[in-house]
């Protein structure tokens, strides 16, 4: 048999082509496998990351439920599906592809441990995250006069004392301030830790004074700080043990309603009176008087400037929460929840972050609580009437003239609904 050299060359050539094609296919295949592997890993990592991040809202759902539970049932925790087991109360809820298990312990300062479980992508295993949260009863009333920055009391003769509107032996028959029943339970405290954080001047303080760590109190001129017995002794100065440098007042954020309806009003010439009943109301400029029958909330957007003999009247059983966004607010000479034996707990003023200035002018009689953590407060005038009964928390405070301030100790006992988070740790 005779083999043609042409066919040998042809078959050799075909072999080379096949080899090259195999090499190219191999390289391409390898590249493709690598590419798919990289994409697959990237996809798995992204999916796992999404699950990991999704666990946090689930953890927070558990914390929210625990907070809602302790707020609604502060004394009885074994309700609403919560169970007591070996030292803590717990509940478990399913949500979407996962569930959370949350425990509650320590009634005086509740500790919440929330653990969320979510199914890992393409797996039957769970990814879990755990957070431990400590909370404390929310109390924006403070200990008397409290400020984040300085307190200046360089008036003529300022008085700060306390009473208890729930105690007939330390208030009048209506639960109002009575100078003959006064107590020495007020605290004037600044969180500031610098020299002269609190400047007392000639003030008479029936209670304590405190600054932040490292702070100091300006030397008294003719003032007195201390107990009722110390005041009765006629001694001038600060009683031993009645000044400290441990002030650390909390200033939690304010949770305000977003909006409300227009309030009904009665006009008389150029003046008007808002008639508030149960509900949330809002107004741009507030220059008129307010009469409250029920549990009312009023949002003030742009202007707050009121005065009058009965500028704010709250009927028995009524309550008013004011949320003020106006940059400046002014209480003129007049009475605010003072008539009818009003209680400080029933008038609460919340200064939102844009509310940076607040003033009292003339002989005011204000019975209520002011919490304005971004505002400087000026108290001018005073000397006649009750001036201020309740509590005051602000960024900085200056008392002028002969202002009198009476802290209502009942506010500390009542607190306010809800809790604030004091520590948050992911375990």
């Amino acid at each position: 048999m005779k083999i043609s050299p042409v066919s040998i060359r042809k078959s050799r050539s075909q072999g080379n082509v096949l080899l090259v094609a195999l090499v190219v296919a191999g390289v391409t295949g390898l590249a493709l496998v690598s590419y798919l592997s990289l994409i697959s890993n990237q996809s798995a990592m992204t999916a796992r990351s999404q699950t990991w991040n999704s666990a946090m809202p689930l953890v927070e759902a558990g914390v929210e439920e625990a907070l809602a539970h302790v707020t609604q049932s502060p004394d009885k925790w074994d309700t609403n599906g919560w169970t007591w087991t070996s030292g803590f109360y717990w509940v478990q809820r399913n949500m979407g592809d996962g569930y959370y298990f949350v425990t509650l312990s320590n009634k005086s300062e509740p500790v919440i441990v929330s653990k969320a479980y979510l199914r890992a992508p393409l797996s039957s295993n769970y990814i879990s995250r755990t957070v431990r949260v400590s909370v404390r009863n929310k109390n924006t009333a403070g200990p008397g006069i409290g400020a984040q920055k300085g307190i200046d009391m360089n008036g003529n003769k300022l008085y700060v004392d306390s009473f208890d509107s729930t105690d007939p032996t330390h208030s009048d028959a209506n639960g109002s301030y009575d100078p003959t029943e006064r107590k020495a339970g007020a605290t004037v405290a600044s969180n500031l830790g610098i020299q002269d954080a609190v400047s007392l001047g000639n003030a008479d303080i029936w209670g304590r004074v405190a600054t932040g760590i490292g702070g100091s109190i300006d030397a008294l001129k003719n003032g007195v700080v201390g107990s009722a017995a110390f005041h009765a002794s006629g001694t001038i100065g600060i009683e031993t043990g009645y000044a400290s440098t441990d002030a650390d007042l909390p200033f939690p954020p304010i949770e305000a309603p977003l909006m409300g309806s227009s309030p009904p009003m009665v006009t008389s010439g150029s003046s008007y009176t808002l008639l508030l009943t149960n509900g949330v109301f809002e107004i741009g400029s507030l220059k008129g008087e307010i009469e409250v029958h029920g549990n009312a909330t009023l949002i003030v957007r742009t202007e707050f400037d009121i005065k009058g003999n009965n500028a704010i009247r709250i009927a028995p059983g009524g309550h008013l929460d004011l949320y003020v966004y106006a940059s400046s607010a002014s209480f003129g000479a007049g009475s605010y929840n003072y008539s009818d034996g009003g209680k400080a707990k029933d008038l609460r003023y919340y200064g939102m972050p844009s509310n940076t200035y607040l003033s009292f002018n003339g002989n005011t009689s204000f019975v209520g609580v002011i919490y304005a953590p971004q505002a400087h407060v000026d108290m001018n005038g005073g000397g006649v009437g009750v001036n201020y009964a309740g509590s005051l928390m602000a960024k900085s405070i200056k008392l002028n003239g002969a202002y009198a301030f009476h802290y209502d100790e009942a506010l500390a006992k009542l607190g306010s609904p809800g809790f604030v988070v004091t520590s948050w740790n992911e375990l």
Partner: protein, 160 residues
């Protein structure tokens, strides 16, 4: 003829290798940026959430009190990196970072506007926003390898 075909095949192979290498580098950079950003967001959001408060702030450096410790995040513009300091310990959270900045806000809503937070000072900061842009180069160009990220984290602690 065989030489010609061989040259064509080799050219095709070289082109394929070049483009696939470039493609893989781009992809690797994307994966690297993604992983780096994921790790940085996770670390920072976890720490900021549980911080006690902001101690000091400027747009390129922010410090938080965490119990008795301090954690600081710094953008190093010269080194193009976002650094984390925990006491004396230093970690590089992001490298190849063209820009990064921090912003602080208060927690309360602005007047009648939902989820818009007013600017804050160190004393009242409750929301921290982190924004950065990182990139990688492939053969000297930044094509398809830029990653911009922004996150708002709320300090959960409200009171003492």
């Amino acid at each position: 003829m065989a030489v010609g075909v061989g040259c064509l095949v080799m050219t095709a192979l070289a082109a394929f290798t070049l483009y696939s290498t470039r493609f893989f580098l781009t992809l690797r950079n994307c994966v690297d940026l993604d992983g780096q950003a994921r790790h940085a967001v996770d670390r920072m959001s976890q720490e900021i959430r549980q911080a006690d408060r902001v101690i000091s702030y400027d747009p390129q450096k922010i410090s938080f009190a965490m119990g008795t410790n301090t954690v600081t995040y710094v953008y190093d513009a010269n080194g193009k990196s976002l650094l984390r300091y925990w006491g004396d310990r230093k970690n590089v959270l992001l490298s190849g970072c063209d820009s990064a900045r921090f912003d602080i806000f208060m927690r309360q809503a602005t007047n009648a506007v939902y989820e818009t937070f007013p600017a804050a000072t160190v004393d009242n900061a409750k929301v921290v926003q982190i924004t950065w842009s990182c990139s990688r180069s492939v053969l000297g160009t930044k094509e398809n390898t830029e990653s911009m990220q922004s996150a708002q984290v709320v300090i959960r602690k409200q009171g003492k």
